[in-house]
């Protein structure tokens, strides 16, 4: 199949676009914004990671520097989990400003992730941030609409449409040609931008990129490319189906507003309205109550712990806990930690289910709104989405639990039950607890989690092909 006619139409369209001074102004301007977005993303990424690495390292040093002491003191001394960003987050900030950056990990207690950017900002932050992804996902579609609203409508208005069609050009050729035309203009912005992005991305990682990261970057580019093509097609289809260019413009602006501003906020608001999440104070109080129901290790008369004590005494055939061959309080704390963390995880699971339900609305709406599908996908690829954050918190909690239990195990093994023996152990044991290391999700997990977004983007593309087909048959020249 030769696309000669389509190419001609596209060339013609490109020429007419570049005759317009406004095109240069807007393109120049978006270029500047892109540069600003990349630079600030870069700076933010470096700031964030340097800070997080610096304090992760410092806190580790502090941990190791502790002298000989009781392991339980160390469990309270605790560790930190600092969040690190992935390289793609230079371009897509996602929910990062709302993520806590540090969690203090200690025995008995699950602390909140604190010090988010949002907690340190005023409501200005709520207007959003300038990131490369924001320019690609929100501003470029609008630029496409501005370029394309009169692609067919103007020809109809000044009568050239009839001429074109009577010269044997089919509607399909015309539509495809115009789409190609807009796409080629947008690519003049998109391709250089992507080249710069890839270069910076490589630079940030000293040109040593992993397979996983590369795949994520490729997907990031490919999906944005498809997403933009998609808007080119919408622009032309709407332009072709409207009587006047003014009507086309108003419709396109309406579509853009609904897709990027109104629908995302409204659907999430509906989700949050219907599924109410508990407050922190309720969440914590419920956990406290459940733990007390299971057994309170602080209460000497608690039946759960009394039963453990009695059975221990019976098995080891001794009459007091002081005579046990291992540290009794270490044993009880191990049990307590297990119970409390099970209960915490159960409650957390319920809470996360509420959040999932809240999010399910906007996920479902991605079938109606390609912007949400694209946004979810790009946040997931750059590890700045909801799942990544929950994943970070879970990894931190697992680390916390293991650290606390490790300290309890040391206590059971090395600390005597008798008060007159030393209650400290050698500081060399501290290194036995590994440093916290956060592992971002791999690309395949990301794709699996975001399967809805991927499917909906493909469905949208199929829909557009169908629309172009039907439009070519049904459209009229007048």
């Amino acid at each position: 199949m030769s696309l000669h006619v389509e190419n001609l139409i596209a060339q013609h369209f490109r020429k007419s676009v570049f005759k317009n001074l406004a095109t240069y102004i807007i393109t120049f301007f978006i270029g500047i914004l892109l540069i600003y977005a990349v630079l600030s993303g870069w700076k933010n990424y470096i700031n964030q990671n340097e800070t997080s690495e610096k304090y992760q390292h410092e806190s580790r040093e502090d941990w190791l520097k502790n002298p000989d002491k009781n392991p339980h003191r160390m469990a309270h001394y605790g560790n930190f989990a600092f969040r690190k960003s992935t390289s793609l987050s230079v371009f897509e900030f996602g929910m990062e400003p709302f993520f806590g950056n540090a969690i203090f990990l200690e025995a008995h207690k699950q602390n909140t992730a604190n010090f988010s950017e949002a907690g340190f900002s005023n409501s200005m932050l709520r207007f959003g941030e300038i990131s490369t992804a924001m320019v690609l996902q929100i501003l470029l579609p609008l630029l496409i609409f501005f370029l394309g609203f009169n692609s067919v409508a103007a020809e109809r208005e000044n009568g050239t449409l009839k001429l074109l069609l009577s010269q044997g050009i089919s509607w399909k050729q015309l539509l495809l040609g115009k789409i190609l035309g807009i796409a080629s203009v947008i690519m003049m912005l998109f391709i250089p931008a992507i080249l710069v992005l890839v270069f910076i991305w490589l630079l940030l990682q000293n040109f040593a990129v992993s397979f996983d990261e590369t795949l994520k970057m490729i997907l990031f580019i490919v999906f944005h490319f498809l997403y933009l093509l998609f808007f080119c097609a919408i622009a032309v289809l709407i332009s072709a189906s409207c009587k006047t260019s003014k009507k086309a413009l108003v419709s396109l602006i309406g579509i853009w507003l609904v897709f990027t501003i109104i629908l995302p906020r409204t659907t999430q608001a509906i989700g949050a309205y219907i599924y109410e999440a508990p407050s922190k104070i309720k969440f914590n109080s419920d956990i406290e109550k459940d733990i007390l129901k299971q057994g309170d290790s602080h209460n000497p008369n608690d039946s759960h712990y009394k039963a453990i004590k009695d059975s221990l005494l019976a098995v080891h055939k001794v009459d007091s806990v002081q005579k046990l061959p291992f540290n009794y309080s270490g044993f009880i704390m191990t049990e307590g930690e297990k119970i409390s963390s099970n209960i915490y995880n159960k409650h957390l699971k319920n809470l996360l289910q509420v959040y999932e339900k809240q999010n399910s609305f906007s996920r479902a709406v991605s079938f109606l709104n390609p912007y949400i599908a694209m946004k979810n996908l790009s946040m997931a690829l750059s590890n700045t989405d909801y799942d990544s954050y929950i994943d970070f918190q879970k990894q931190a909690e697992t680390y916390r639990y293991n650290m606390a239990q490790k300290m309890n195990a040391l206590q059971i093994k090395y600390i005597s039950n008798k008060k007159d023996k030393p209650t400290v152990i050698d500081k060399d044991h501290w290194a036995e607890v590994q440093e916290f290391h956060y592992e971002p999700k791999g690309v395949f997990t990301v794709l699996k989690n975001e399967i809805i977004s991927v499917i909906s983007l493909f469905l949208w593309i199929i829909l557009l092909f169908i629309l172009i087909r039907t439009a070519s048959k049904k459209l009229k020249a007048i």
Partner: protein, 450 residues
């Protein structure tokens, strides 16, 4: 004449749909505000119940040791939510409105965050301030972008011009009708809000209303200026939408990114590490050093001598106190940095009406960052007060049962800081006047509007 213009305006299907749409979305925003209000209210009532239960439970477990009891017991301070808050939720969803603290080191507790679904935070609340700041301008643009240009394009302008001796006055009337309609819409939504959310009639509500009016007038002023350029409808709509895009998305986002990069807050992490070490290292240090520092901070407790035991609560709380005392510098630095951040963004916001309106509405509703900073300060003071009350009781090991625990109710902090009217209104007034003047000059320059 005015009546006819009004009829003509209101008869159009687009007008009705637009007004209805904004009314409906405004009403939805009020429902969301109402839910927010109920949730806040519920949390606070629950907090009171939990605190009572929590203290009673712990007091019965640890009846013999005041020091151990206070290791566990948490006291809550509430940041009062005013009814107006439901109209501009601001940062109240990010930041906790209730802080619960034990009398141990405060620095490790006061920045504890609220439980949140980050997706909700990212996409933001659909509160009234969103409807006012984002949606109203769109309606204003839709109602005004084709004034004059539409009639010129359809050829009816010449008829209008020939029938009216003052076309400028006619244009003013067209604007007048639209301004009145939108202000009426705003007033209706706010009246419904007052009823639905039990908002008291006070100066805050009035200020809120005036800022909303000024903000709506700002967009009319912008549209008036663009119409005065007398270009075609397509040009007007593209330019107005671009202005909207700039003021609502691009400029705020750019400035925000600038502020975030200009004032990073590594102090927060510095503080956390410092406070952890300052407390924990005391376990391995000479007790006397710790106690000397403690006595010099609180000379009134000098009479409590450290008992000759391996562990004592006096020593324990002195160590906890050192966590706070020795990280005071970092804490101060963090507060200063956060204030700088806030001041810088407020300063820049004065020149950008959308940002200014958002920040001012939040300030009036006590849901801005300043309120949060104040709340953190009050939490610290609340903590200090509680700590000082219990210190002597712990050091004496006063009997737990003797204490009247029921008097420790949840306390409330009421932010009564006044909003400066000139700071709120003047930036909007000046910008409005500037656009109106520019538009006026454009119209006057071309004596005949044809």
């Amino acid at each position: 004449m005015l009546a006819l213009i009004f009829k003509n305006f209101i008869r159009s299907k687009g007008t009705k749909v637009g007004l209805l749409f904004v009314f409906v979305i405004g009403f939805i925003s009020l429902l969301i505000g109402q839910q927010f209000q109920q949730k806040q209210h519920k949390n606070i009532t629950e907090a009171a119940v939990y605190q009572k239960e929590h203290i009673a439970r712990n007091a019965s477990f640890h009846k013999d040791e005041m020091g151990l009891l206070l290791y566990y017991v948490k006291f809550s301070l509430v940041n009062k939510t005013f009814p107006l808050n439901s109209l501009a939720i601001g940062q109240r969803d990010v930041n906790p409105s209730i802080q619960s603290v034990t009398i141990r080191g405060v620095e490790a507790q006061k920045y504890d965050s609220e439980l949140n679904n980050p997706n909700n935070l990212l996409l933001g609340n659909l509160d009234f301030s969103f409807v006012l700041i984002y949606i109203f301008p769109l309606l204003i643009i839709a109602f005004t972008y084709n004034i004059v240009s539409e009639e010129k394009e359809s050829g009816t302008w010449k008829i209008v011009a020939s029938q009216s001796d003052n076309t400028f006055l006619y244009i003013l009337k067209l604007f007048y009708i639209r301004i009145l309609s939108l202000l009426a819409l705003l007033t209706i939504i706010l009246v419904v809000a007052v009823i639905l959310l039990n908002i008291p009639f006070d100066s805050s509500l009035l200020t809120f209303y005036i800022i909303s009016i000024l903000y709506i007038l700002f967009w009319f002023a912008v549209c008036f200026f663009i119409v005065s350029l007398q270009k075609n409808s397509n040009f007007n709509s593209v330019i107005l939408l671009t202005v909207w895009l700039f003021l609502i998305i691009i400029l705020p986002a750019t400035i925000n990114t600038y502020i975030v990069n200009k004032y990073p807050v590594p102090e927060a992490l510095e503080l956390t590490l410092k406070q952890r070490n300052a407390y924990h290292e005391k376990w391995d240090m000479d007790k006397k050093t710790t106690m000397d520092k403690f006595y010099s901070h609180y000379p009134q407790f000098k009479s409590y001598i450290l008992p000759d035991t391996e562990f004592s609560w006096l020593w324990y709380y002195a160590m906890q106190q050192m966590g706070d005392d020795e990280s005071a510098k970092q804490s101060q630095e963090l507060q200063t940095k956060l204030k700088q951040r806030n001041e810088a963004s407020q300063m820049i916001a004065q020149f950008i009406p959308t940002l200014h309106t958002q920040i001012q509405l939040n300030e009036i509703a006590k849901s801005d960052f300043e309120n949060q900073l104040l709340f953190i300060q009050k939490t610290t003071a609340f903590h200090e007060k509680t700590r000082l009350y219990f210190y002597p009781k712990i050091f004496d090991n006063a009997p737990v049962a003797k204490e009247n625990w029921s008097k420790f109710r949840v306390e409330t902090f009421e932010d009564n800081s006044e909003t400066s009217l000139s700071k709120s209104f003047l930036p909007l007034v000046f910008i409005n006047l500037a656009f109106i003047a520019l538009g006026w000059m454009n119209f006057k320059k071309e004596k005949q509007i044809i």
